[in-house]
Amino acid sequence: MTEKFIKKCCLAACVLFAFGMPLVVHSPTYLHISIMLLLFAYMTTSWNLVGGFAGVLPLGHSVFVGIGAYTSTILWLQYSISPWIGMLVGGVLSGIVGFLIGKPTLKMRGAYFALSTMAFVEGVRVVVENLPYLGPFKLNGPRGLNIPPIEAGHNDFFAFQFAGKEPYYYIILTMLVAVLALTWYVSRSKLGYSLIAGGEEPEAAEALGVNVAKCKVWAMVMSAFLTSLAGTFMAQLTLFIYPKSVLTLDLSFELAFIALIGGRGSIAGPVIGALLLRPVSEFSRIYLSDSLPGMHLILYGVILIVVMLLQPSGLTDPLTKKFNAIVKFIAKKTNKKKDFNDEYA
């Protein structure tokens, strides 16, 4: 067996496990935790397009989640337009907003960029909280919007509402696979190389004729569009959105944490980060928050600090190294057997 073959087998096993999981696990709690894990992996992968490759630290991606959630919900509640269409409308809107906010801010140096995206989220949240109506659209201020369930126990694809958790699981899993494929494609495209070059040595990249600013803005637009789709998904999953649930710094921060713990700029990083961090926050919230208030955040903070101290570039690098070593070991073992057989054939 060659190393490539073993790696392909591992990938196939992962995909098989991911798609087959709901056939075995039926507990809504575990399915919900898995859905949240995939959702955060999806959002972080989208974040990674600009935050990882371009080497900047955007802390305002919850704005795009908010735009996606609010656009599709408003279109559904007021105009009965399917959230599937609203999802795309929200994505396009987010892309435009991403362009408008990215154009001036992406020229700034790291800290200024991080802070201005932060201020942007807070500003948008304050505005949404204070507006009952935005033109003809009902925002409902801090109380948020409630999506009435279609009919209990029924699946309605057009309304993006399903009785069980499984459809949501498969939708977000498909979205994640798609965005991972896109990231893989981008990382091997001219845009990807330009982004990485511009993120590491902007002056050198500029000197070689790369338009760093333009590349970063396009990455931002793409990232905004994709992040926004998750907003619609979130709204349809919880059927209730309000400014503090989708337009918060906490959400933006969490995306950055997951990416940095996993390893920014790598394709698997966000998934690995989500695999490590999401269960911690979900389980500690379930089991610890009653007896020890705030304990889950302490745990979260400790994990962040410990990982950053031991592995500042994230956990993907050491994990892939371990994985490659194991693959090599297996390949060597299996090949040796073959040699032995050849010799005595």
Partner: protein, 297 residues
């Protein structure tokens, strides 16, 4: 409109704004030297407030005498925090121009500090007792000035001046400035870069402690008290120019004025939105802030 209302608003805006400036002062100093946004700054303020609260509650001292206890405690707290948690990241990422990982570490410190406080002291709002300054006012005709805020204003100006003199006149201060300009060149001149980082971080934390003492005299203490001030100080330091001491104070006063004059013309929640809009406008027009240098790293 009655003119004295406007004067009243302006005065309370300047007083509160200078205290915002004092809070932002520590943040701007740390940024100036380490080139790192300290997301835990609001938590340091909260720790300072709890330290002041307990120092006064246990000993019954006058709140401002608590400074004698709070300032050194906070200085060493910051000094060792930088030494053990932040320095290793700098060492590991020596060739990275902007170690954004440090932001994550300071955010981790923020989560831990806020939630440990929640765990030990609960979510209750606590008011300082005994508090001889509570609700005291000076009266000038129609205009009222809150005495704790007025003293806070004096302490803010005094701290800024002292810090300025320290940075200009003393040997350590000059070393701090040299490190903030070019840490490699400063190291070559025999300055221990890591020690300077520790000292600068310690001073930043101590200043957060001073603002904590000032705030406890008229503000409640609770575990997440730092968060709104945290976000406000980010706005202030960017507005005034990251790393600039006068910028922090003046940025603080601008925010204070908007917050106190704004509600006369609109609902007070909208003034918050104006603060962010102004912040973004300043960033777009002059990204280095009002007093920031164009190329500070």
């Amino acid at each position: 409109m009655d003119f004295s209302y406007l004067i009243q608003d302006i005065i309370s805006g300047i007083l509160m704004g200078s205290i915002y400036g004092l809070i932002a002062l520590g943040l701007t100093l740390v940024f100036g030297v380490l080139k790192v946004i300290n997301f835990a700054h609001g938590s340091f303020l909260m720790v300072g407030m709890y330290a002041a609260y307990w120092a006064v509650s246990i000993t019954g001292l006058h709140p401002y005498v608590a400074l004698v206890i709070v300032v050194p405690v906070m200085f060493f707290f910051g000094y060792y925090l930088q030494n053990f948690l932040i320095k290793p990241i700098f060492v590991a990422e020596k060739d990275v121009r902007e170690p954004t990982t440090v932001i994550i570490v300071t955010t981790g410190i923020w989560y831990i500090l806020d939630n440990i406080t929640l765990l030990f002291f609960g979510p209750d709002y606590r008011a300082l007792t005994p508090n001889p300054l509570k609700g005291k006012m000076m009266e000038f005709g129609d205009i009222f000035i809150s005495i704790p805020k007025f003293y806070g204003f004096l302490i803010a100006i005094g701290t800024a001046l002292l810090l300025y003199l320290f940075l200009q006149k003393t040997r350590t201060g000059r070393a701090i400035r040299a490190t903030s300009l070019d840490r490699d060149a400063a190291s070559l001149m025999g300055i221990n870069q890591w020690k300077i980082f520790n000292v600068a971080f310690g001073i930043g934390t101590a200043v957060a402690g001073i603002s904590g003492v000032v705030l406890t005299t008229f503000y409640n203490v609770y575990p997440t008290v730092g968060v709104p001030f945290d976000v406000k100080s980010f706005v202030i330091v960017v507005l005034g120019g990251l790393g600039s001491i006068p910028g922090a104070i003046i940025g603080g006063v601008i925010i204070g004025l908007i917050e106190s004059i704004g509600p006369t013309f609109m609902t007070s929640t909208w003034t918050e939105a104006i603060v962010y809009v102004l912040f973004l406008l300043v960033l777009f027009v002059k990204p280095s802030g009002l007093f920031g240098q164009k190329y500070d790293w």
